[in-house]
């Protein structure tokens, strides 16, 4: 029972979700809305488990003096400082602990940490792609075989649009690039998406029917 019950639950809820799609009746609709709400609520409890994992792994790292352990103090400091800001606020001229209203989210330090620490780091991490896209192009776009050559030529044609020294052949590249984006890409994407759709449907079915049990440790 202890081993079987999870699979029975998967089967029951999976089947319900499939059949509710065909039933437009009010009762089916309500059940569907409830189920969606439930998953987000359970997700928050999971977040607590997640934060616990983060904290314990970080402390473990400090205890065992793993590589770069000193920096783990910054993780803990950032975490607790931000939580502190998130629950304190200055309301009508008085600083206080605001566990019972979301004013904490309006705390100026909470906002500044978001604006001056989270946002710049996030944007910079994202912008590192400009470097990596160049190094990946250098490393991988080599005419090793037919497939690699096709990859290379298509990429070059797309990038040639930005070459101002082409003169009269410039528009030709532009046209070819547009064609590549609109015709073969459409075909390839459609083939990939049909395959993905099938793969997903098959995986979902395997999970619901209990054929695939690997996801729950067998």
């Amino acid at each position: 029972m202890r081993r079987q019950l999870p699979f029975i639950l998967v089967f029951a809820f999976g089947l319900f979700m499939i059949f509710q799609y065909f039933v437009p009746h009010e009762s089916s609709e309500r059940a569907y809305e409830f189920l969606l709400d439930w998953t987000t609520i359970i997700g928050i409890f999971a977040l607590a488990v997640g934060i616990w994992s983060l904290v314990s792994v970080t402390i473990e790292k400090i205890k065992l003096r793993k590589p770069a352990w000193q920096y783990s103090f910054f993780t803990l400091a950032g975490l607790f400082l931000m939580i502190l800001f998130g629950f304190t606020a200055k309301v009508d001229g008085h600083w206080g602990f605001h566990f019972y209203t979301s004013e904490g989210l309006q705390n100026p330090m909470f906002r500044s940490f978001f604006d001056y620490i989270l946002t710049p780091i996030q944007a910079t991490m994202f912008s590192m792609l400009a470097f990596f896209i160049a190094s990946a192009a250098y490393r991988a776009f080599r005419a090793r075989n037919v497939l690699a050559t096709l990859l290379l030529i298509a990429a070059l044609i797309m990038m040639m649009r930005f070459n101002p020294f082409l003169g009269p052949v410039g528009p030709l590249f532009e046209k070819t690039a547009n064609w590549l984006l609109n015709v073969p890409s459409l075909a390839a994407n459609r083939a990939i998406i049909i395959g993905i759709g099938l793969g997903m449907v098959a995986t979902a079915l395997k999970v619901i029917l209990g054929i695939e049990r690997g996801y729950m440790g067998k």
């Binding site: 400009a130 250098y138 080599r142 930005f162 070459n163 101002p164």
Partner: protein, 313 residues
């Protein structure tokens, strides 16, 4: 090669950074002939310089105008001076960096040719962007053009394509007054314009819904008015099916805006001094793309040279 590169201002920084990139690439090419790989930090360094230099120093490239863009340019050129043209601002601040340069270039071009311009917006968010074009382009660069004689601002009207459906046959039903509550009948430049089908050209700048596509379907086709589109790069491909029959031309993305600005400078040298955001934003793009393409070529040279060297051993 010299013709394509327009270095505005004999700036030392420009010369140094371009020399750095060109010299570096030649050095790497020589190395690659010996089959030596380029270290990735060198690539990163080149990308950094290629992007930084045009931001710090104004390096712009002359853009070869493509036929879809040239069609719009030629249309505005070919209209007799004094024709009435409408420019619609159908976009929001997020899209503005890409499409507002187009709207500004259209405005300059129309005024330079002596056309009369009707400004309007069918996006609520377009109104403030329209105002900014009026302030930064119309009033500042063309102080001699008088409101309601040379141009008029109709402002925003809610109703999406419903608005278009009406103004194609009756402008005053939807817009009894302009944005300052002046009745249209007392506006001289609109005396002959009873509906949008009376216009010589409509320039629809935008990329979402409603946008150029709706202008074609609700105004261009039923009213038989030529329409040209300025759109964001992501939405431009969806407009191509309408070209050239229903749309006389399309500007898609910042590259097209830069091409238009280039063409403007060629024809009207007086605009060389105004801000050209399209061309300005193209600098880092062009240089970075060139650098990455160079590295792909170098990579292949290294690959084939080292393969040959290995087979010779």
């Amino acid at each position: 090669m010299t013709e394509a590169l327009v270095v505005t201002g004999t700036n030392l920084g420009v010369v140094i950074s371009l020399a750095l990139i060109a010299g570096g690439v030649i050095w790497l090419l020589v190395r690659s002939l010996k089959g030596k790989e380029v270290e990735r930090r060198v690539i990163f360094g080149f990308v950094l310089i290629a992007v930084s230099a045009p931001i710090l120093f104004p390096i712009t490239f002359h853009e070869q105008i493509s036929p879809v863009v040239k069609a719009v340019f030629d249309k505005i050129e070919s209209l007799p001076a004094g024709s009435t043209v409408a420019i619609s601002f159908d976009f929001d601040p997020a899209m503005a960096p890409e499409v507002q340069p187009m709207a500004n270039a259209f405005t300059r071009h129309c005024f330079a040719k002596g056309h009369k311009v009707v400004f309007l917006s069918i996006w609520a968010t377009g109104q403030s962007l329209l105002t900014s074009t009026l302030d930064t382009v119309v009033r500042r660069e063309f102080p001699e053009k008088r409101e309601r004689i040379d141009w008029v601002n109709l402002g925003y009207k809610a109703g999406n394509q419903g608005v278009l459906n009406v103004i194609v046959s009756d402008l005053r039903k939807m817009y009894p007054t302009d944005v300052n509550a002046v009745p249209l009948d007392s506006i001289p430049m609109l005396a002959e314009v009873k509906a949008f089908r009376d216009l010589s050209l409509i320039l629809a700048v935008g990329g979402g819904f409603p946008g150029p596509k709706e202008w074609v379907l609700y105004v261009g086709d039923p009213g038989n008015v030529p329409i040209a589109a300025g759109a964001a790069a992501v939405t431009a491909p969806q407009l191509y099916p309408y070209y050239p029959r229903q749309l006389i031309g399309i500007l898609g993305g910042i590259k097209s805006a830069a091409e238009y600005e280039s063409a403007m400078v060629d024809k009207y040298p007086q605009f060389d001094s105004v801000d050209k955001p399209g061309l300005r934003m193209m600098g880092p793009q062009t240089l970075a793309h060139m650098v990455i393409m160079m590295f792909i070529i170098i990579g292949n040279i290294v690959f084939f040279r080292s393969k040959r060297m290995r087979s010779q051993l």
